[in-house]
Subunit: 328 residues, 2 copies
Amino acid sequence: MSVGIKDVAKAAGVSAATVSRALGNGPVSADLRDKVEAAIRATGYRPNLSARRLRSQHSRTIGLIVSDIRNPFFTTLSRAVEDAAYRADMRVVLCNTDENPDREAMYLRLMQEERITGLIYAPTRATSARLGEVDFDFPVVLVDRAGPNGAHDAVVIDNVGAAGTLVGHLADQGHARIFGLFGNTSSTAIERHDGYRAAMLGRGLDPDARFVAPNADAAAAALAERLATGDRPDAVVVSNGLMLLGAYRALKAGGLETPRDLALAGFDNETWTELVGPGLTVIEQPVADIGRTAMDLLFERLRSPDMASRKVVLSGRLIARGSSTSAA
Amino acid sequence: MSVGIKDVAKAAGVSAATVSRALGNGPVSADLRDKVEAAIRATGYRPNLSARRLRSQHSRTIGLIVSDIRNPFFTTLSRAVEDAAYRADMRVVLCNTDENPDREAMYLRLMQEERITGLIYAPTRATSARLGEVDFDFPVVLVDRAGPNGAHDAVVIDNVGAAGTLVGHLADQGHARIFGLFGNTSSTAIERHDGYRAAMLGRGLDPDARFVAPNADAAAAALAERLATGDRPDAVVVSNGLMLLGAYRALKAGGLETPRDLALAGFDNETWTELVGPGLTVIEQPVADIGRTAMDLLFERLRSPDMASRKVVLSGRLIARGSSTSAA
DNA sequence: CTGAAAGCGCTTACAG
DNA sequence: CTGAAAGCGCTTACAG
């Protein structure tokens, strides 16, 4: 029923090998190449990628494992990865772990079964620590979250530094009681907490942090709870975009305005942060750059498998907006 | 190097056929099944999906072609599709056309080469019209944008009705000069325009519409231009989330506030629409339902290839917020 | 329930 | 440059 390479060969009066060569720009005379191309058009032939991958032992497939594509950070990252992949004539298999180690393990298995060429990977915290012990059959580039040093190539931002910048900015505006809200599933959140804590202590301020699930609802609940205690902080720092959204909603629900009642700042320059009230102060991450750089590292690694592993650290950029200025 | 099914067979003391059966829960005695499972654990065997697909003639792969995963509508849709796919133990190949017919054609070719099981597809407008003529080797379910009637299964919302609802709502608030801004690449935008136009005429109001590229910048530029003409409309309706964002930015940039100077309403209940000013009035689409329904239709179609084609029309829901209330 | 054999649709040495 | 043949790693009738 479906037309195969032999049908094309027959139609063109050549061997299947010649058709294959014409397809993969192997050495074929112009004469035969024309005949093959005509036969392909006539038959509507489309090569079977499964057969090609099996025979050639190249899947030309990039795996991409993230927590949730709906997180704008990963949405943008995935476009950058896909664009780079398709430019290199490769496919992307996208997987969402929802920060669930079981799903993650299942997808890592899938990556093996797909015999992927390489993996771009944001591991959950549980897995991240053990990343030195496992070895994969393909090169891995970690994004957003680095693993044990030296185990894999990685592209991250300077989370400790960025969190410190945020605290410094708030302190410069006269805030002293800065409450920190951090995710509890990624190494990234831990690092941001470390940067927060170090910057607080460095300025003689008391750290006041909480770790919660990295989503809007959990962040909103945690902030509401913290505000209900009576001794209200005068600024809040939040470790990612989804949590920042939750924090903003909690303030709104509590009838609090920023910066009037409380300063608010966090990570990820999402669309809405610029639009609400006087704008929210955020650290902007070079997300598309992270994706492109990760693909670059991957391709270089494929070329030079034995090169020492590299970690590229990009920096976040402080965008100071109304939510943090004019101290209380 | 890599361990294959024969290595497992040898380790377990059985034939490759038995290993294959144990993997695919074919008929295997408990005894041998145990041995095979032990051998798999011992060898770390992972089946090669390319080989399996080639031999079984089932790719267990769903294609998903959308314009841009960064459009929140498609972000949410893709998660719903992926979740349904992985529940059915299938893979998803995600493609972004950027509304570019060439890219689209290339991805349709890719779908053939992957021998996908079925396709969830939001065609560009150029292709949409010719969809009755092409026939694919796999079932297709259109989403967001329907094609020529009866050609394929489809899941859409009632765009004409929803746009009419929006116009009706604005008119009820006392607005008469309602400017409409619509995308120029999708049948969806056309339908929304039709609904807008019909509702305007039905109320004795003069339609005043423009079609532009469906992105934030183009919408912002078009609205700014329209406002510069002097005879300012008192309400603006916009046909999707990205364009609504552009429109909102243009108002802000022009020092205009909503609803004080102008009412604003549009499609897609994106996060930020609830947060800005008094909130933006929008039509919310049941996006995850659209994705799930599309997958349901696809699976039913695979079961019953000859069933007459079905179009499921879901309805959008009006969420009236501050941006449209209290007429000028 | 189990195994030996054929074959899915390609690509790639090998020989010419 | 070209073709005949082997083989990638599986699954699936076929026979027992």
